[in-house]
Symmetry: C2
Subunit: 363 residues, 2 copies
Amino acid sequence: MQDFSRRRFMQGAAAATLAAPFVSTATRAASPDKKLGVALCGLGNLSTNQIAPALQKTEHCRLAGIVTGTPGKADEWRRKYDLPKRSVYSYDTMHRMADNDDIDIVYVVTPNALHLEHTVAAAKAGKHVFCEKPLEISVERCQQMIDACKSAGRMLGTAYRCRFEPHHLECIRIAREQELGAVRIIEAGFGIDVGRPDQWRVKHALSGGGALMDVGVYALQATRYLTGEEPVLVTATETKTDPVKFKEVDETVTWTAQFPSGATAYCTASFKVGGIKNFRANCERGWFELDPAYYYGGIKGSRSDGKPLSFPAVDMFAAEIDDFARCVKERRPTIVPGEEGMQDVKIMTAIYESIRTGRAVRI
Amino acid sequence: MQDFSRRRFMQGAAAATLAAPFVSTATRAASPDKKLGVALCGLGNLSTNQIAPALQKTEHCRLAGIVTGTPGKADEWRRKYDLPKRSVYSYDTMHRMADNDDIDIVYVVTPNALHLEHTVAAAKAGKHVFCEKPLEISVERCQQMIDACKSAGRMLGTAYRCRFEPHHLECIRIAREQELGAVRIIEAGFGIDVGRPDQWRVKHALSGGGALMDVGVYALQATRYLTGEEPVLVTATETKTDPVKFKEVDETVTWTAQFPSGATAYCTASFKVGGIKNFRANCERGWFELDPAYYYGGIKGSRSDGKPLSFPAVDMFAAEIDDFARCVKERRPTIVPGEEGMQDVKIMTAIYESIRTGRAVRI
């Protein structure tokens, strides 16, 4: 997987050396002291309560612009973050970022089905793109995002914040070094009570799917980065207890996945049942787990052998965006490229196919 | 489920009043002080290390006989438990129990695929039968066991020891009373490292299946007694990392199950990976779990609200066999009749069908 991503990225990087915008940015970014300007595209709860505050804690970034469809939000953010008027965009005007050297990276935090449009706009304006997960609502649209960034000589990263969190990193280390033997059976689940029925998460046209797309992607990612493998077979079912609220999207999905080494996973994602937020990796000689694993903070780990699995809290959003900024500065690949985001969308598509057809789906 | 079982049992009890052997036993058993005589059929590890010692702790039973194919074991057990020679049988002579009033119940602890033969022999000899799980290796064979006991006017119980353990009983209470709201998503798994490759558990002809039949049945049972419902749809996959040892039976199975209320379960069973031994029931307003849930002792519970879920240890084998003896004495139905054991075999058969066909299977 990583080899694949790296190979794909290197092709992109090779192409990028021929692309004028990359060269100019790279030149500016060559100064390791300079903080890269990040524009937040989409000013919902996540941007407001997590990402904007996190940007204040980064070493390599600063909030340099915003893209929003709500004029009231624009004014509020301008005042709060002392942003110049020229760095405030609507979705219709964001192409003008091409003229704004203050902005190096656009962090796309809009509903899933708008990621393509906003990524293409940002890439065409010569900006690197960091995009919330799921990357988009279909493999084809993910590929278009990847292609757009590649054509523009720009990097595309997927906002998998857990990949930069020390408990998760330690779990990946335990797995890769087979400290408790090979990973054999992973249990992973993430459920939230999704709340108001008028939010975009329950509108299929904007979300592309429900619990699986929104929170299941965390559990799915975990099964992939813990095994270091790609699933080859999935089975899945969906259950619905609130057909009004979840008329358009999946309420609760359970799935199983097989990996080439013989590792296996059994997982769940729910928009109805909160309190599920963990993974446990059962290995040949013991297990390790995180619970909570996916919350913004308070992550707790444990191991069957009683050894500590505990680290000081970090701001995961600061960590992920700082890493992406360093990759941009140093012109090295990110561990969470667009291809990584697309792979999860590919597998989720297979899980939905299994639900729809009642068949195990080979990937 | 319970209504169904009770109805079926009452039919059996009504028939039993016409059957001479039941009347004679019932007359003897009418004395509440009398301990019922239990013959252990099959003297493997479980009988040796768990059931025989447990019988010494019961209120309503005593070890009154043995059935074994190994003369050396017969001598050893006769001395150890001071058994009369006439109460020691081989599988070929156990029909002679009909003449032995010391024996009221035969506890069948032989390999899965021998349960039918030994149950029929015991029932024909006029004995009530308590049988280890899984009840048999096919629904048809389970039905034959049920029919044999019914024809003989004898009770048939399935040895689901967790159903008599206070942590499990408290979990069932929490679920039924919806103390944390309705049960929505259950995660359950049981895995053991099965050890020696020459044991009957890995021989299909004797076991009828591997991890699912042997330990998965605990997780499956848990999903049923926690929801109080029967699954209507299952999906499943099997993975094998040791095709030599597990040539004939499943090594690791993962499955999902849907219940009529919209509850769902995701589960695993393994003969390769130990350390999985839990269930967690995620409800509308919190969760409760047992981990370990299925071991002979050391069961630990917890709840999302921090309230205690802890009870003094009991001998589960003593509890289950004492309950069965009380049911026999008092001529009331057991909560674990043959139909209950058959239902798990039916669902496991559907899980195997899903593995084999790559399709979701409706039950």
